[in-house]
């Protein structure tokens, strides 16, 4: 049993982080929840401004908003899975290479590209495979119904910042896989498959899972790129939030926007509920 002093010391190391998050993250989320649960724009005389209400939350779970949430989830899951797989393999390929400058260049380029998005990224793809784009005909020769301003179009663009993100977060773990372990395994008569099954896989899986989760979250929160590409024809909860809170058409519905934002926090909670048990099992795999 760890002594009380040691435990207190450990808590002392953790409390600054928790305190900081409570203020810098907790306060804005509190403000979001508060706004979501109160009326700012009463639609009929029986309601008064500022009264407590569930109306915003219920609206956000129906109709076009529900569709937006569903499409967002579908898009995020799909792009996250693809980017995680490709990114993992790319990170493996990069970790294997010997050139130090090459690795640094790729690492830093990944950092920059992982944050590249919005209208500039949309324009890069419009210039390439949008209508009038140079390479559109090439793509359409293998994929006749492809169009950039659809769900598939957005799904083609998102990995542009998701794959670098995956590379960046799994490269440290892949770097940690020492080449000696592979040789040792081969020396003992193990095949590659066995190496990955018993050594490499368990070590890599938590980092890969974490990277996937990061990709999913990043994909879910993105909105400017999809907005520029699809004019709202692909409903996403994040573009809906932006239209309400920071748009030129809808006014006075900030409470609904905040309710939608709170839904994203709920999504996060659900994801955690799925992810944490998975991670526990992966830890057990390592011990087995």
């Amino acid at each position: 049993m760890i002594s009380l002093v040691k435990k207190l010391g450990a808590w002392g190391a953790v409390l600054p982080l928790l305190g900081y998050c409570a203020i810098a993250l907790g306060l804005p989320i509190w403000a979001i929840l508060w706004d979501g649960l109160h009326l700012t724009n009463p639609q009929n005389t029986s309601e008064t401004t500022g009264s407590l209400t569930l109306a915003n939350l219920t609206t956000s779970w129906h109709g076009i908003y529900l569709k937006g949430l569903e499409t967002s989830l579908r898009l995020s899951l799909f792009t996250a899975i693809i980017s995680a797989l490709v990114g993992l393999f790319a990170a493996y390929a990069i970790a294997q290479s010997k050139g130090r400058y090459f690795k640094q260049a790729v690492l830093t380029a990944s950092g920059v590209l992982a944050n590249f998005g919005g209208i500039p990224l949309a324009f890069c793809f419009i210039a390439t495979i949008g209508t009038g784009g140079v390479f559109l005909s090439w793509i359409q020769s293998v994929w006749p119904s492809f169009a950039l301003d659809t769900f598939s179009g957005v799904a083609v663009v998102y990995p542009y910042f998701l794959i670098p993100l995956m590379v960046l977060t799994t490269l440290p773990a892949l770097d940690g896989l020492r080449e000696q372990w592979k040789e040792a395994s081969a020396n003992l008569g193990g095949t590659s498959w066995q190496y990955w099954r018993h050594i490499g896989g368990p070590l890599l899986f938590p980092a890969a899972l974490g990277g996937f989760v990061l990709c999913f979250g990043s994909s879910f929160a993105a909105y400017a790129t999809a907005k520029a590409l699809t004019d709202g024809t692909v409903p996403l909860v994040t573009t809906q939030i932006a239209s309400i809170l920071s748009g030129n058409v809808i006014a006075g519905e900030n409470d609904l926007g905040m309710a939608l934002a709170f839904n994203t926090v709920i999504v996060c909670g659900v994801m955690m509920a799925v992810y944490l048990p998975l991670r526990k099992r992966s830890a057990k795999w390592l011990e087995s």
């Binding site: 724009n41 109709g63 076009i64 569709k67 937006g68 949309a122 324009f123 419009i126 210039a127 949008g130 209508t131 009038g132 784009g133 169009a147 950039l148 301003d149 659809t150 907005k227 520029a228 590409l229 699809t230 004019d231 709202g232 024809t233 692909v234 409903p235 573009t239 809906q240 932006a242 239209s243 309400i244 809170l245 920071s246 748009g247 030129n248 058409v249 809808i250 006014a251 006075g252």
Partner: protein, 383 residues
């Protein structure tokens, strides 16, 4: 590790020290003398234009928000204002939206960087009169009655009609469309394929929302029924003609959006810019779907520079300011009055596309109904 950490610690220390030492004036600057310009409702009530100019100069700067320099010639107008009165114009968040402007008024009270004046669409001006200060410019009578608030809370400044811009060379052999009906003409469908665009998402961009409304008016809808407009674009999409990429000058130049349904002042600005790139773009106002909207000026109730704010309004509504808008291809709100008085800039006037027919403007409730219809119907009709 040492060198990096030394650098980091030094940088952190410097920045923390800098932020601690820098002072920030947060009190609102009061006007000179005894006039509290924050409550003055007209120049004459405050002691005349000379007093206003003196008070504004004393304040020294003006905070505007969300004014792109190439939108309705705002860049030139801000520069002219500065040159004329020596007052610095701080343009925050130039790509911001009307929603950002209202948010800024609500949340930035007490900050020296709070916005003094805003330029918002009707959808954001009408419901937020409690955030604005009443003020009537000297040329108040020249503003048409339907385009200003009776109490002086907000007032239209410039506007335009929804137009159809078109790069003739790219849609040939089909002609450039001049009506909404032409866009659905089956003989031109192949030529228009993938080329028709709006200026963004109708639930978020005013120009796109207005484009849908103009299409509604052309398809049997009215100011109280925007649904035919949504169906119109649904049909365009199923024909393969609609390109959901929002049009910008870059996308037109890249050849992605050759037909743009947008405000006439934006299309005309693009046309004039693209001429030097060897691209000829025409701008036509559709005869079957006449929709126009004016943006509104308003002074924030919590403006840190109330005198400068009022001087800015006086400037925008003078002949100089109104002609300035026209230089950016927008229709100044005092157009009719200036035409009779002969103060319109003749050269700029000729640049405006011809319009035949009259328009009326939607009421606040009609706006809300239309917004709700578009929010729930757009993605379903076009998804």
């Amino acid at each position: 590790m040492h060198r990096i950490t030394k650098l980091a610690c030094a940088a952190a220390a410097v920045t923390l020290a800098a932020s601690a030492c820098s002072s920030n004036s947060s009190t609102t600057s009061s006007g000179s003398g005894s006039t509290n310009w924050a409550t003055v409702t007209s120049a004459s009530a405050g002691g005349g234009m000379t007093a206003l100019i003196a008070a504004a100069k004393a304040e020294g700067s003006l905070n505007v928000i969300a004014l792109p320099p190439t939108w309705a010639n705002y860049g030139t107008l801000m520069a002219e204002f500065k040159a004329k009165y020596g007052i610095t114009v701080n343009d925050a968040n130039p790509n911001g939206s009307s929603g950002d402007e209202i948010n800024a008024i609500e949340h930035d009270k007490g900050l020296a960087t709070a916005p003094d004046v805003v330029d918002v669409g009707n959808s954001h001006a009408l419901p937020n009169t409690n955030l604005f200060s009443d003020y009537e410019v000297s040329t108040w009578a020249n503003i048409p009655a339907g385009l200003k608030d009776a109490n002086g809370s907000w007032y239209g400044d410039y506007g335009g009609y929804i137009s159809i811009g078109c790069v003739a060379a790219k849609v040939a052999p089909a002609p450039c469309p001049t009506t909404f009906a032409e866009l659905l003409d089956s003989s031109y469908t192949a030529d228009y394929k993938g080329k028709v665009s709006l200026d963004g998402d109708p639930t978020s961009a005013n120009a796109a929302f207005s484009g849908v409304w103009a299409a509604a008016l052309a398809s049997g809808g009215s100011l109280s029924n925007i649904q035919p407009g949504i169906s119109y674009f649904g049909k365009l999409k199923s024909n393969g003609e609609f390109n959901a990429t929002g049009d910008t000058e870059s996308t037109i130049e890249a050849g992605s959006t050759d037909i743009t349904i947008d405000w006439e002042y934006l299309n005309s600005q693009y046309a004039s810019d693209l001429k030097s790139k060897g691209i000829t773009m025409s701008v036509a106002i559709p005869t079957d779907g006449l929709y126009s909207a004016y943006y509104d000026q308003a002074i924030s109730k919590y403006a840190p520079h109330p005198a400068a704010a009022r001087l800015w309004e006086e400037f925008l509504y003078s002949a100089e300011g109104q002609n300035g808008f026209m230089g950016g291809y927008a229709r100044p709100v005092e157009f009719a009055a200036m035409q009779s008085a002969g103060t319109l800039d003749a050269t700029d006037e000729k640049l405006l596309p011809t319009v035949s027919g009259s328009v009326s403007y939607p009421t606040e409730s009609e706006l809300t109904t239309a917004q709700n219809a578009v929010t729930s119907g757009w993605a379903t009709a076009l998804g």
